[in-house]
Point group: D2
Chain length 171, copies 4
Amino acid sequence: MRKLQIAVIGYNKDRCTEEARLMAYDVGCEIAKAGAILICGGLGGVMESACKGAKDNNGFTVGIIPQEDFSFANEFCDLVICTGIGFARDFITANSADGIISVGGGVGTLIEMAVGYMKKKVIVAIEGSGGVSDRYAGKYLDERRRVPILVVKDAHSAVQIFSCKVNHASS
Amino acid sequence: MRKLQIAVIGYNKDRCTEEARLMAYDVGCEIAKAGAILICGGLGGVMESACKGAKDNNGFTVGIIPQEDFSFANEFCDLVICTGIGFARDFITANSADGIISVGGGVGTLIEMAVGYMKKKVIVAIEGSGGVSDRYAGKYLDERRRVPILVVKDAHSAVQIFSCKVNHASS
Amino acid sequence: MRKLQIAVIGYNKDRCTEEARLMAYDVGCEIAKAGAILICGGLGGVMESACKGAKDNNGFTVGIIPQEDFSFANEFCDLVICTGIGFARDFITANSADGIISVGGGVGTLIEMAVGYMKKKVIVAIEGSGGVSDRYAGKYLDERRRVPILVVKDAHSAVQIFSCKVNHASS
Amino acid sequence: MRKLQIAVIGYNKDRCTEEARLMAYDVGCEIAKAGAILICGGLGGVMESACKGAKDNNGFTVGIIPQEDFSFANEFCDLVICTGIGFARDFITANSADGIISVGGGVGTLIEMAVGYMKKKVIVAIEGSGGVSDRYAGKYLDERRRVPILVVKDAHSAVQIFSCKVNHASS
């Protein structure tokens, strides 16, 4: 029986605010406490903070990295998927998620959101986390209005949504 | 000496309006007249109309399709790249463009825009073409403000921008 | 501290012999007993038997599947990576391995071996398992003679090689 | 009406012999004379020589490169597909071929052959060109015996085979 796989997406190392880092850490903690597996892009910023939060709570963390070599992953990944396909790996992160939590983020995060949206995944943005998470909170990514980007006040609420919703959303 | 490779992105078959189809046809015509190569995702809707426009003006057209088999490409492609990597091929379409012209479009178009934006490609939206082209016209896709989505009134103006701008934008 | 990630490759469902299935099951058992993570292509045949072996010994199993949807993975995968990039996912399976164990197999297995060989991974074929595993046992895949395909008599010996060799091979 | 797309695969820059370079040049010439499009991996060695041969005969050449940026392609490519997916682009080169001509080559060439073999493409090796082309000449890549690697004495014979065979092989 496969566990829930929750993707955390958001700011990379270059743009990550201290606030987003703390929020991402909390998201990692909550995913671990809920007994779900945390998947992410495996690099720095939000990805690293979320992995650290999960590890501090005995969670299991997966880094799906653009590069071919393990060494690019952050140190808090229990498992590293070395895609070697560059940033097209954003598709794999989103496809492999039962649900997605977004913390801030730039255009890379937008791509991951968009892939999740195409597949009608449950996507939750943390309120006030900045970047594309705030920009698209409560909105649809295109005219098709497939799924709204949900908004929550904090990490705990984000993970709670998944416990309720995900089983219906993921095929 | 490689010719300019201009990508046309936009509505797929399911959502394409008659207006967007005509605009895309014009874009194809202008690309061919300018002596550039038209690249696109190789399927229906905007992609097909643009290819037809280019073929009607003796242009050369390239379809970069998600599938493994040639048969999925529209009939106006001179060359078909069968990626077999699904919609992650959006990365390849955008990476392979010296510049991008957008006509309407949904979330798939947004992904192609976003990849182009990451790489600071010149991206031009046709005004009034609907979808994400109108939504992002004149805007930046994230806080980094790398390149604005330019807006033009018609296909002719779109292709003119490339003659001037592209050589500086593409590495 | 990341655990060892050992890839099991070999016959898919269509061509898998009963003998290869048993060998793959044993390989899965031994990987789990060694405390390593089993990664594989996530589908049937050798992949499924190896996963079952690992699960019967409280191991952790990862299926890296060609498709976009979880439902294609065999039921013994603890984690499913839905690549959506078709059989190009063979690159990801091999890139993500600290070492590779091969049980029988056809041309898909040969591709995974070849990717591992390019990256100088330790690759071990189980003797008598048939297919490309026997064909390349003890040989090099090209003139560069990067790494030989090692041969072992059974699953236990295969996993033992990794405990000794892998730390030096993987970067 | 799409033209025939013939892929040329073989030694990269590092290992290319002078003899293979000349053979590849001839292959490029013959593809152009036959009015087909030459596709290849877009880099050095056999790929570059084949492109040069085609260009010297007014052919059209396509380089499908691993990188994201045009600058990695050899100078004889009329069109560059910047996949950005690393060597997993081998799948795209082979998938996009109506037929494949192999000149020498190492493990990367073997992967392209293998992908073509999976899809039952017509694959022709030039006799005496070395590497995996000679190693697999006249053989099958696995027990399934899908298609044999055909052998021919020279470039002219290779291209002749395609004129006869390809229409039946490619779907």
